[in-house]
C-alpha cells in the first residue's frame, strides 16, 4: 500500500528533474545567443557589425551577416579562407577570359584552431548549449502537434546521418578551394544566414529603407531577392517544418560544424561515462535521447550532442559527465539516494 502511494511521487520528481535540466539548458542557450548577437545598432539601422570582435570565431552556427552578430561563423570563415586566391600564381583561362588563381591557403589554420579549441574542450556540447540555430530548432520542436506526428528520430535514418560529412567535404572544403570567392555551403544550403541575416535585413530595407546598402553592409529591400533567395527560402522552410516534426533535423543530417565537432566527442576533455555497476539496462536513457543515441553502448557517440536528457532520465544515476577533474554528481542519483533512504 505504501509503495503504491510513493510510486507516482517518485515519477513526478523525475519529471521535475528533466524539466529543470531542460530549462537550465534553454537559459544557457538563450543567454549565449543574446550575448553573441547583441549589436543592437545593427537591428536599428539594418546593418551589420564591423568591429574587431569579428576576428573571433563563435563556437556555433551564427551567420556573420546577422545584424546583431558580434563574431564570425566558423563555417563561413573556413570557406572565406579557402576562397582566397593566390594571384602570384595565376593564369588566364583562354575559354572564359577570366583569371584563374591557385588557392592562397590550402589549410585554414586560424579557423580550424578555433574549431579545435572548442572541440577539444567539449565536443558536441557546443551543439546543445552554444548554437543559436540549435536553439531555434529546439523552440520549433516545442510547437505542439498530435503525438503521432511528432517523431523523435526518423526510423532507419542512419545512412542519412552521413550526409553532413559529405556536405562538409564537398561544399565547405573542396568546392571553395576550387572556385574562388564562392562560399558554396553558405550560398546554396545554409538556412541560418537566410533566417537571421537575409530576412531581417531585407525586411528592414523594404519597410524602413536602407542607406547602409550603399556602404555594403545592408540590403535595399526584398526587391533584391532572386532565384537564390527562393532556393534558400525553400531549404529554410523545409528545415522549419521538419524541426516541428522531428528533433533537430539540421544537426542530424546537414550541419557541417556538427560533423566536425562529432570527431571530438571521443577525445574531448568533457565526456560522458556510464557506470556499469549502476546501469541496469532499463532503457530509460535510450528512450529519452532525441538524437537516437544508445549511450550505454557508445557513451561518446558521434551523434551525441550532450544535452543531458539521458543523465536526467537515468533512474539509477549511472550516467556521469564532466571534465574529469571533479566527478560531477548526477542530480538523478540524489533522488535515488533520497528514495532509497
Amino acid at each position: 500500500m505504501e509503495t503504491q502511494v510513493k510510486a507516482p511521487k517518485k515519477q513526478k520528481t523525475r519529471m521535475q528533474i528533466r524539466k529543470s535540466v531542460e530549462r537550465r539548458r534553454f537559459a544557457i542557450q538563450a543567454v549565449f545567443t543574446i550575448l553573441t548577437n547583441s549589436y543592437i545598432v545593427g537591428f536599428i539601422r539594418g546593418t551589420i557589425y564591423q568591429g574587431k570582435l569579428k576576428y573571433i570565431c563563435v563556437p556555433g552556427m551564427n551567420c556573420y551577416s546577422c545584424p546583431g552578430a558580434l563574431g564570425s561563423c566558423p563555417i563561413g570563415a573556413l570557406q572565406a579562407v579557402f576562397n582566397q586566391g593566390n594571384y602570384t600564381n595565376s593564369w588566364l583561362d583562354p575559354k572564359s577570359g577570366s583569371v584563374i588563381a591557385q588557392p592562397l591557403y590550402w589549410f585554414a589554420f586560424y579557423v580550424i584552431g578555433f574549431i579545435m579549441l572548442f572541440g577539444a574542450l567539449c565536443g558536441r556540447l557546443v551543439c546543445a548549449f552554444l548554437c543559436p540555430f540549435g536553439l531555434i530548432q529546439d523552440l520549433l520542436y516545442k510547437i505542439p502537434l498530435p503525438k503521432k506526428m511528432k517523431i523523435k528520430s526518423f526510423p532507419h535514418d542512419k545512412p542519412f546521418r552521413y550526409l553532413k560529412y559529405v556536405l562538409l567535404v564537398v561544399f565547405v572544403i573542396v568546392l571553395p578551394l576550387l572556385y574562388e570567392s564562392n562560399p558554396f555551403f553558405c550560398k546554396y544550403i545554409c538556412p541560418s544566414g537566410m533566417l537571421i541575416g537575409g530576412i531581417p535585413l531585407m525586411t528592414y530595407g523594404s519597410v524602413i529603407g536602407n542607406t547602409a546598402a550603399q556602404t555594403g553592409t545592408g540590403i535595399t529591400s526584398w526587391a533584391e531577392a532572386g532565384g537564390l533567395t527562393v532556393l534558400k527560402m525553400c531549404i529554410l522552410g523545409a528545415i522549419i517544418i521538419l524541426s516541428i516534426i522531428t528533433y533537430r533535423p539540421f544537426c542530424k543530417y546537414v550541419c557541417p560544424l556538427g560533423a566536425i565537432y562529432s570527431f571530438f566527442n571521443k577525445i574531448s576533455l568533457y565526456r560522458y561515462t556510464v557506470d556499469e555497476s549502476k546501469c541496469t539496462h532499463c532503457g530509460a536513457c535510450n528512450h529519452a535521447c532525441r538524437m537516437g543515441v544508445d549511450i550505454t553502448k557508445t557513451p561518446n557517440a558521434l551523434e551525441c550532442i550532450r544535452c543531458g536528457d539521458c543523465k536526467a532520465a537515468c533512474p539509477h544515476g549511472a550516467i556521469c559527465s564532466g571534465f574529469g577533474i571533479k566527478k560531477k554528481q548526477d542530480p538523478a542519483s540524489d533522488v535515488n539516494k533520497g528514495s532509497a533512504a
Binding site: I48, Y49, Q50, G51, K52, K54, Y55, C57, C63, Y64, S65, S72, C73, G76, A77, A80, V81, N83, Q84, L104, Y105, A108, F109, Y110, V111, I112, G113, F114, M116, L117, G119, A120, L121, P183, C186, K187, C190, G193, M194, G197, G198, L201, M202, G216, T217, G218, I219, E224, A225, G226, L228, T229, L231, K232, M233, F264, I267, S268, L269, G324
Partner: protein, 54 residues
C-alpha cells in the same frame, strides 16, 4: 592493472591537452599568416551569398 589505469588517465588528459596546444598554435600561426584578415574582411562586409541574394 594500475599501469592500465595510469595509461588511461594519461590518454584521457594527454590527447585533449595536445589538441588544445595545437589549437592555440594554429590560431597564432593563422594570425601571422594573414588568414585572420581574410576572416575579418569577409565577416565585416555583408555576405550576399549567405543572406540569399547572390
Amino acid at each position: 592493472m594500475k599501469n592500465k589505469s595510469n595509461s588511461n588517465i594519461v590518454l584521457r588528459y594527454l590527447i585533449p591537452a595536445l589538441l588544445l596546444t595545437c589549437a592555440v598554435g594554429f590560431i597564432i600561426y593563422g594570425i601571422f599568416d594573414g588568414e585572420v584578415n581574410a576572416v575579418l574582411s569577409k565577416a565585416t562586409a555583408l555576405c550576399r551569398e549567405c543572406v540569399g541574394i547572390g
